[in-house]
């Protein structure tokens, strides 16, 4: 978004209608191609590249001051100039001076997000220069006077028809530009002349190699090659974070960048330039003279390294990782919300998608990040997509926490009494407290059920919830159970005399208070497979507060959970979780919230329930004690965070082993994502995302039983298909026989 716009329900609806189709088609294509390309090269090889790339970036950012120094020395030794700019204004001024020194009338640019960040075009135009974007996507955006909607494909929200209309109106060509070929040919011709006439060529740099003073550029169109070689003066602009030590460190990035961005094994053009290059200067004024006009001009090279908040990000333990980003856009493409609404909603001043929160918070400030940060639901699908293994959801959570505190300096997320609606202070922090402290809501709701359910579902109560808490009245509320899973389990006698294994079944808030039936099924299944099962007295994992950016509360909960569960682990119990989002806390987020040893113990000894059942069956448990599938059809939607942990396959494998015919969804997320789909302003987006999943199951839903691993997914499917979604463990329940 070039100008800040309130991201409300209306704006989201408008964008879904105007840009949603193109965004969906293009981001999903990139996303699928990335999956295919990674598969083709081999997951192992890809993972090795990611590990190496991350190590190189971590090391380079650590040694940044030294690398800046080395870069300067190398570039100067080659005959170029390095300018380290403190901020955008400083950098723009430098570029204006360079242009002024060569009496430039016009400047041509290849794609560079960093110059977008600087608003370079506006600055140079204000100085009377003509500035042309030569990347076709950027050119479209320039002509349309819009902001990029995607880091890699700035104009991918525009259809061919829209571009035709735009260009015909702007350029009034003799022939209609009614195909992609004609549009491309027109732009090639038009921009080709601009490039030949320009005195200064500006490029970005995907990487800067300190030792040799080189830049690496990744492009497909060839415009960066032209911008770097045709004008006598070449200015490369890069954030200071783009420096790596040398050509020796470039290899993993050459493997990763295009594969992650567009699913290409290598870009069309990977330029490694150590300017000033030996390519002769070309003089179009001596058009008929051989040897390219026999110019006597010297090539002039400037490398502008931009700080603009980056050095501070480097000092910030939580934002630092943002600087590892190689801007491939995979986090946007793998994001279900982004796929629906695109970067004009899910983005700040310059950057778009999941990592935009880190960039915008670091460069512009938390206010800009706050405009779109809520669109990250923490589904974590970007985590495995990121070529440098940035924990993007964590950055979003940290910034959310900072935004909460900034908006409401008294915001102390540990205060559960924040739940009591304070009429003087409506707005977001209150709703965040409500969802963040859902455990308390559930406890009270369950204690007073069914009365609480009846009251909550009255029209009056829903209206109040919508106006005070922003909970959309179109959503069904969870119904609390009077008897919790824990109470039910406590009332049972031990069933297994000589157990094979001992299990502490984690009673997450939903399974304990709302979906107790899936917990009961889990207990019976595990017992049938010869496990002793206990349901410990343990509180919420902290997932709910964490998703609201309430890190202190989440941390407190994590500690309590570890204190309760680790003694079981010491006694030889395995921890088994039904709800994937809570298991993901144990196995992913607790790394940030717990001391290392406690995290490792819990991570190493906790399992998703079907993963665990799979292990038991593989180790000789008798599948015949469980009801047989008899070829019945199942439509299975795995949970986003479960997939990130690599655990979706176990459910399908167990169901197939029992004789079910399993159809698995392949969407990134159901769109509900915990509290997200309940929030009024996001209701339409949540439904839009959910519909992709519903479409996949549409035809199948009549003949197949729909199962989903996550509570949120079940709720979304219940509302979009039919209210009969089950957790897969319920199919295994011996009581079904």
């Amino acid at each position: 978004m070039s100008e800040s716009q309130q991201l409300d329900a209306d704006r989201i609806r408008t964008l879904l209608e105007s840009e949603g189709d193109e965004i969906k088609e293009n981001t999903r294509l990139f996303n699928t191609e990335r999956y295919d390309a990674v598969k083709a090269v081999g997951e192992g090889a890809h993972e090795d590249n990611r590990t190496q790339a991350r190590e190189i970036k971590a090391d380079a950012i650590e040694r940044l001051p030294e690398l800046i120094d080395r870069t300067r020395k190398a570039v100067e030794a080659n005959g170029g100039t390095v300018y380290v700019a403190d901020d955008a204004e400083d950098a723009n001024q430098y570029l204006a001076e360079v242009a002024d020194n060569v009496d430039a009338d016009s400047v041509v640019k290849s794609k560079s997000m960093t110059t977008e960040e600087m608003d370079l075009n506006e600055a140079l135009e204000a100085d009377g220069l003509d500035v042309w974007e030569t990347d076709l996507g950027e050119f479209v955006i320039q002509v349309a006077e819009e902001a990029p909607s995607h880091i890699v494909g700035p104009s991918l929200h525009k259809s061919r028809e829209e571009i035709t209309k735009l260009f015909e109106e702007e350029f009034d060509p003799d022939e209609s530009l009614d195909s992609a070929e004609k549009l491309t040919a027109f732009a090639r011709e038009y921009l080709g002349e601009c490039i030949d006439d320009a005195e200064v060529g500006v490029t970005g740099a995907n990487f800067v190699l300190a030792e040799s003073g080189s830049i690496a550029l990744v492009t497909n169109e060839g415009n960066a090659r032209k911008c770097a070689s045709i004008p006598d003066t070449h200015v490369a602009v890069a954030g200071i974070e783009k420096i790596i030590p040398s050509i020796a460190e470039l290899e993993p990035f050459a493997e990763l960048i295009s594969r992650s961005a567009t699913g290409q094994d290598i870009p069309q053009y990977l330029s490694l330039l150590t300017p000033p290059v030996d390519t002769p200067a070309i003089d179009f004024d001596s058009r008929d003279e051989s040897y390219f006009g026999n110019s006597d001009a010297d090539r002039d090279f400037h490398l502008v390294l931009l700080d603009n908040g980056r050095r501070e990000m480097r000092e910030d333990d939580d934002l630092r990782e943002t600087l590892y980003c190689i801007r491939c856009g995979a986090c946007a493409n793998s994001c279900a919300n982004f796929q629906s609404v695109g970067g004009h909603a899910f983005g700040g001043e310059t950057y778009t998608g999941g990592i935009a929160t880190g960039w915008e918070a670091g460069i512009e400030g938390n206010d800009v990040a706050a405009e779109f940060n809520d669109l990250c639901t923490g589904c974590s699908r970007c985590v495995n997509a990121c070529p440098v293994k940035i924990d993007i959801p964590w950055i979003n959570t940290v910034v959310r926490d900072r935004i909460n505190r900034g908006k409401d300096p008294g915001f102390d997320d540990m205060l559960v009494d924040g739940l009591v609606p304070d009429k003087e202070e409506p707005g977001t922090p209150l709703r965040k407290r409500f969802f963040g402290n859902f455990e308390t809501v559930a406890r009270i709701g369950s204690a007073t059920a069914p009365l609480s359910n009846a009251v909550a579902s009255t029209g009056l109560a829903r209206k109040a919830m919508e106006s005070v808490l922003g909970i959309d009245a179109r959503r069904d509320l969870p119904e609390f159970r009077r008897t919790t899973l824990r109470e039910w389990a406590a009332s049972r006698e031990p069933r297994v005399a000589d157990p094979e294994r001992r299990v502490a079944l984690y009673p997450d808030v939903y399974t304990n208070y709302v979906r107790a039936e899936r917990g009961k099924a889990a207990v019976r299944v595990l017992e049938a497979l010869d496990c002793e099962v206990v349901v410990p007295d343990v509180g919420g994992s902290g997932r709910a507060p964490l998703s609201q950016g309430m890190i202190a509360t989440a941390e407190k909960k994590a500690k309590t959970v570890a204190e309760s569960l680790l003694p079981y682990v010491e006694d030889g119990y395995d921890v088994v979780a039904v709800e994937p989002s809570d298991l993901a806390m144990f196995r992913r987020e607790y790394e940030k919230l717990l001391p290392e040893a406690a995290y490792e113990r819990l991570d190493g000894n906790s399992y998703e329930v079907l993963e665990y059942a799979y292990g038991l069956l593989e180790n000789g448990a008798d599948p015949d004690v469980l009801p047989a599938g008899d070829g019945d059809g199942i439509a299975y939607h795995s949970h986003c965070q479960q997939r990130t942990l690599g655990l979706e396959g176990y459910t399908a494998a167990v169901l197939e082993r029992l004789g079910y015919d399993v159809l698995t969804s392949n969407v990134e997320c159901c769109g509900m994502a915990g509290s997200f789909g309940y929030k009024s302003e996001y209701y339409d987006l949540s439904i839009d995302v959910g519909e992709t999943l519903a479409d996949q199951f549409e035809g199948a839903a009549d003949e197949r039983t729909v199962v989903a691993s996550g509570t949120s997914c079940m709720e979304q499917l219940d509302s979009l298909l039919s209210p009969e979604t089950h957790h897969p463990v319920e199919l295994l329940d011996p009581e079904r026989r």
């Binding site: 996507g137 080189s214 169109e221």
Partner: protein, 170 residues
């Protein structure tokens, strides 16, 4: 560093919809003549004993010739068999312009210069960097864009690439 195979290189090129021809050294000039669509410009090859001076191409062209040219002929000191990639070097002979302006780019690679994969190619690049040869474009197939609503070949760079592999090691 091992040498990549001509067959694999050609297979990779065909996946990129890029034509290729493998020839003996003494067939080079006639092959270039067959493949150029006039007017053609060229940069003299960076190989001892192989030249396109006798082929129907203008070397060291004027800016207007460069702009009018339909074909550009240049050499590449490295090819990547697994990817179909060639290296356009920033040389005083103007390879970069020759490889960028005309619609059709004819590239000459020696079979002995083929590397098996990207990792091998990086081994070569590191050695070149040591020797102070530090500006290359690794080019894979024709230039392309999806920015105009469909995938189109031939944007700011060539629309079509033809690779001639000189069997210099047989």
């Amino acid at each position: 560093m091992s040498t990549g195979s001509v067959e694999q290189f050609q297979q990779s090129l065909s996946r990129l919809n890029t034509a290729s021809t493998a020839v003996a050294p003494d067939e080079l000039v006639s092959t270039v003549a067959d493949l150029v669509e006039p007017p053609a410009v060229g940069a003299e090859l960076p190989f001892d004993g192989l030249s396109i001076a006798d082929a129907p191409v203008t070397l060291d062209p004027s800016p207007s010739r460069l702009r009018e040219a339909v074909t550009g002929v240049s050499g590449s000191r490295m090819g990547i068999a697994s990817l179909g990639t060639v290296a356009v070097e920033s040389r005083a002979e103007g390879d970069e312009f020759i490889a960028l302006y005309p619609e059709r780019h004819v590239v000459v690679v020696r079979a002995s210069d083929l590397r098996t994969d990207l990792s091998d190619a990086f081994g070569w690049l590191r050695a070149e960097f040591e020797e102070d040869c530090q500006s290359f474009i690794l080019a894979t197939g024709p230039s392309s864009t999806g920015d105009m609503g469909a995938l189109v070949q031939g944007v700011h760079g060539p629309k079509e690439v033809h690779v001639i592999i000189v069997r210099d090691n047989e």
